[in-house]
């Protein structure tokens, strides 16, 4: 297959970025999107055309959350329930133009080309996205039975890989789906209920502080989430947050 690639190039955080166009051919339909970029880089290096295109990637099986490209206007490209590394060239037509951009959000500054800094997500988790336990001295694992459907719901929310597609998809660059997923995962479990009110308040405050936008309920995040995290998690976040302001747990 043959493609015309329009790729965002930006040398560093402070440099001005622009689109650069590259033609590439002889690409197998079974090849993954990132392997297509590998081949482009191989050619850019061999022919001394330009510095290879920088893009984050690691596990290449859709679980580490490291990769994330904005492809033809969609985070992770034109397929549902996948990350960029799981996108395959058979999803494109021979001769297609492909526009490739980094996540664009104030809270995710560009490092180089398509690589962005997502440490804001770590900071939100550090604000309270955990259950406070120290190693040892915990009860037996079967001491707290949890209804299966509730455990399954917690698992579905916990499946978030922190890739940032929700933020990239949102016109406000809101991180509500990311935060909602963590709040839901922990609040759905009895172990997590103890700190639930405190947790949601701190995480939301940190999210606002780091420059993520507000949620205006368009649910582009849900539509683009590679792990199919649901908007119900945002509702649950809102419910817990309001409860934390007025409820019994208010401190």
């Amino acid at each position: 297959m043959r493609f015309t690639l329009h790729i965002w190039r930006q040398e560093s955080a402070r440099a001005k970025g622009h689109f650069e166009t590259y033609a590439i051919d002889n690409i197998s339909a079974d090849c993954s999107f990132l392997e297509m970029l590998d081949q482009l880089n191989e050619r850019l290096i061999n022919d001394r055309i330009a510095h290879p295109v920088c893009f984050d990637n690691d596990c290449r099986e859709g679980i580490c959350g490291m990769c994330g490209l904005y492809i033809n206007g969609r985070p992770h490209g034109n397929d549902d329930g996948i990350t960029t590394c799981q996108l395959h060239m058979r999803k494109f037509k021979d001769g297609d133009d492909i526009w490739i951009e980094p996540w664009r959000a104030k809270a995710f500054p560009v490092i180089r080309d398509l690589v962005v800094d997502r440490s804001a997500f770590d900071k939100i988790i550090q604000a309270g996205g955990y259950i406070s336990t120290t190693t040892g001295g915990v009860p037996d694992a079967n001491a707290i039975p949890i209804p299966k459907h509730q455990a399954d719901m917690a698992m579905d929310a916990a499946a978030c890989i922190g890739c940032g597609a929700c933020v990239a998809a949102c016109k406000n660059a809101s991180a509500m789906l990311f935060v909602g997923a963590k709040v839901s995962h922990l609040a759905l479990l009895p172990q997590g209920k103890i700190e639930a009110a405190d947790r949601v308040r701190k995480m939301v405050a940190k999210m606002d502080e780091l420059g993520f936008g507000s949620c205006t309920n368009t649910y582009a995040c849900e539509a683009e989430c590679p792990k199919l995290i649901q908007r119900q998690d945002i509702s649950r976040l809102n419910r817990h947050w309001i409860g934390s302001l007025f409820g019994r747990d208010r401190k």
Binding site: S12, G129, T133, T134
Partner: protein, 651 residues
């Protein structure tokens, strides 16, 4: 070099208890004065840092990714073993210990493995307390499944994403310590060298991957939790950035490297499909609970399938060869990984392979008929989806095609019972050490080991070491040793970047990946699933030649002081050349077959591994002698006091 495994005295079941009762402690006020460096944020690194931070030590933790949550532990699918006996099927610490020793083909240390089995239950308790959403049954209690090499159900799981959930649990605990200020996080930082002062590990040199700056960090102890070296083979189930360099620089500085030739080849991966391919994707071993592995019984059927004239679903039951069930009736499809991998290779080499000829079927038709599609979807849905996205085939309708691939490395830095390497003050945990899996690791035991080391072993043993460091005072990252280490890193980087002058014609220069792919092919072909004295001698020669060619014609673009992934690949590959030679040397010296190490000269009549306990019942610990020089080897004899050694039999 003297190897002292420091195994505590007393009966096996009491060793760890005795150790803990007599180890040295550090009081809270002194803990605050002691600094620890942890490299790597996978299960071992994150759990160690979180535990040590919570105890009150000052911890600095480093990872090469943009977040600690991305370490490759995240990709582990199937589950984690623990001797809880929740299923009442006869499991116990003793049973898990025996299975692990036997699975490792009697090449692991008894005391370490027993301790691992002993703390396994506490890991599950810890994870549940952190909110890890393990699978549950309708009564709300934890569910289990079976993995290879066991006849009980002791594997806890969270869908097909167990590694992810366990890592997020550890990441949560780590995040809490970061917020409390006991742990300092350094992302996008790569360890480039270890600093040894007066024979003790005292610090590291890291490269900031964003701007290329070299930075120095000093501490009273260094914990290495940087995973394995499977990417030596280029195509593997490891993540693209997983690498062996941090362990290798420690080896260069004097840490012994043990059993490098023990490499695990996982039987169920999606087969190779093209030259551009960058990695292989694992299909969890848990699939072998319900999937049946087969190839056509007749060669002509296999040929017709390869030519696309016949579909697998067209083949009648009696024309299929369920070769694992045939050869190993007792364990069937759930034989250990090395056994299943070799059996697949045997069938494909004999001409019965499907797909490109290097693939076998993993068939769920029976299970779907027995349990219904919905039940299968619930158990393995995400794996089936992953398979379909990659291959464009629907595994609910046609059998999956799978083939073995490099997955895990049992070899690693030599450590004693305390997980300390031969350099005092340098500890290694998780896949980076060699300690618990012998010559073959059982499924769902890597997660167990990583968390055991981090949560329940290092917090004790590291403290025992640090108790003697209280009077040392604050260590500053300065002095001749730090200067020298930083200078040597700079020299290495400069050499790679200036390898080609602007005058070198383009046509004669090649990329780093080009060489890495070729190195991988040599290793897979001559030092992979089957090895012989002849193939290993060839490998040695070919790797030597390839390295020479690398230095003649590799081109690394860009500069040292910028975000430059090509440069990262280059210095990692440079280390792989040396590591490859050591893997080959170790494989050549071990004239027996055991676990993942299969020497074709040493096999039984029906193609099983043939150990030579008389000559090789030891750990081979290698000492670095300088680039291009053969390494020297020390033996740590393996003494089995508790277990009866026998032939490994899964029939």
């Amino acid at each position: 070099m003297k190897l002292d495994s420091k195994i505590p005295s007393g009966p096996l079941a009491e060793k760890w208890t005795n150790y803990k009762a007599s180890q040295k402690l550090v009081n809270p006020a002194n803990k605050r004065k002691l600094d620890i460096i942890v490299v790597g944020t996978g299960l071992a690194g994150a759990s160690a840092a979180a535990s040590l931070g919570a105890m009150g030590f000052n911890v600095d933790i480093f990872c090469i990714q943009d977040s600690p949550r991305r370490a490759h532990s995240i990709a582990a699918q199937g589950g984690i073993n623990a001797a809880k006996n929740y299923q009442n099927d006869g499991d116990s610490v003793e049973r898990l210990f025996r299975d692990t020793i036997k699975g490792g083909d009697y090449r692991a240390r008894e005391a370490n493995v027993y301790r691992l089995a002993e703390v396994s239950g506490a890991i599950i308790d810890q994870c549940v307390a952190q909110g890890v959403p393990f699978a549950r049954d309708y009564g709300g209690l934890l569910d289990n499944r079976s993995f290879g090499g066991a006849q009980v159900s002791r594997t806890f799981y969270a869908k097909g994403q167990t590694g992810q959930q366990l890592l997020l649990g550890a990441y949560g605990a780590l995040s809490r310590e970061i917020a409390r200020g006991t742990v300092k996080l350094h992302t996008r930082c790569e360890m480039m060298d270890l600093v040894v002062v007066d024979g003790r590990a005292k610090g590291i040199i890291v490269r900031n991957l964003v701007n290329g700056d070299l930075e120095r960090y000093a501490a009273h102890a260094v914990v290495l939790a940087t995973g394995g070296y499977g990417n030596l083979y280029y195509l593997s189930t490891n993540a693209m950035n997983s690498n062996g360099s941090a362990a290798w620089v420690c080896h260069r500085k004097g840490a012994a490297f043990a059993n490098p030739c023990y490499v695990q080849i996982h039987p169920t991966c999606i087969p190779v499909h093209g030259d551009y391919q960058s990695k292989l994707t694992l299909m969890s071993e848990s699939l072998r609970n319900d999937g049946r592995i087969w190839v056509p019984k007749k060669k002509e059927d296999a040929e017709a399938i390869r030519a696309g004239k016949l579909r697998p679903t067209d083949l009648r039951e009696e024309d299929r060869d369920y070769y694992l069930e045939r050869r190993y009736p007792a364990f069937g499809n759930l034989v250990p990984r090395d056994v299943a991998s070799r059996a697949a290779k045997e069938r494909c080499d004999a001409g019965y392979g499907v797909g490109t000829g290097y693939a076998v079927y993993l068939d769920f038709a029976d299970a779907i008929q027995r349990l219904g599609r919905k039940a299968i979807e619930e158990k393995y849905g995400n794996l089936f989806q992953m398979y379909q996205k990659i291959t464009d085939e629907n595994p609910y309708e046609t059998p999956m095609m799978i083939y073995p691939a490099i997955h895990y490395t049992m070899g690693g830095l030599w450590v004693d019972y305390e997980l300390q390497t031969t350099i005092p003050g340098l500890f290694a945990a998780g896949e980076a050490n060699f300690s618990d899996h012998g010559a073959n690791r059982l499924g769902a035991s890597a997660l167990m080991q990583g968390l055991a080391d981090g949560y329940f072993v290092l917090p004790y043993t590291l403290q025992n070491y640090l108790a003697n460091q209280i009077n040392v005072g604050k260590i500053k990252p300065e002095g001749a040793e730090f200067d020298e280490a930083e200078r040597s890193v700079k020299t290495r980087i400069d050499r790679l970047l200036s390898n080609s002058s602007p005058l070198t014609p383009h046509s004669s220069l090649l990329t780093v990946d080009h060489f890495h792919k070729r190195l991988g092919k040599i290793m897979w072909e001559y030092c992979g699933m089957a090895r012989s004295a002849e193939s290993l001698a060839q490998a040695k020669q070919l790797v030597t030649e390839l390295e020479e060619e690398f230095w003649k014609s590799v081109f690394v673009p860009g500069s040292a002081n910028e975000f430059n992934p090509e440069l990262e690949k280059a210095y990692r590959l440079e280390d792989y050349f040396e590591l490859a030679q050591l893997v080959i040397a170790d494989a050549l010296h071990r004239e027996e077959s055991c676990g993942g190490h299969f020497r074709t000269e040493h096999q039984t009549e029906d193609g099983e591994t043939l150990r030579d306990d008389e000559r090789f019942m030891y750990v081979a610990a290698w000492e670095y002698q300088g680039h291009g020089k053969p390494e020297t080897m020390e033996k740590e004899p393996l003494v089995y006091e508790h277990i009866q050694i026998s032939k490994r039999n899964y029939k």
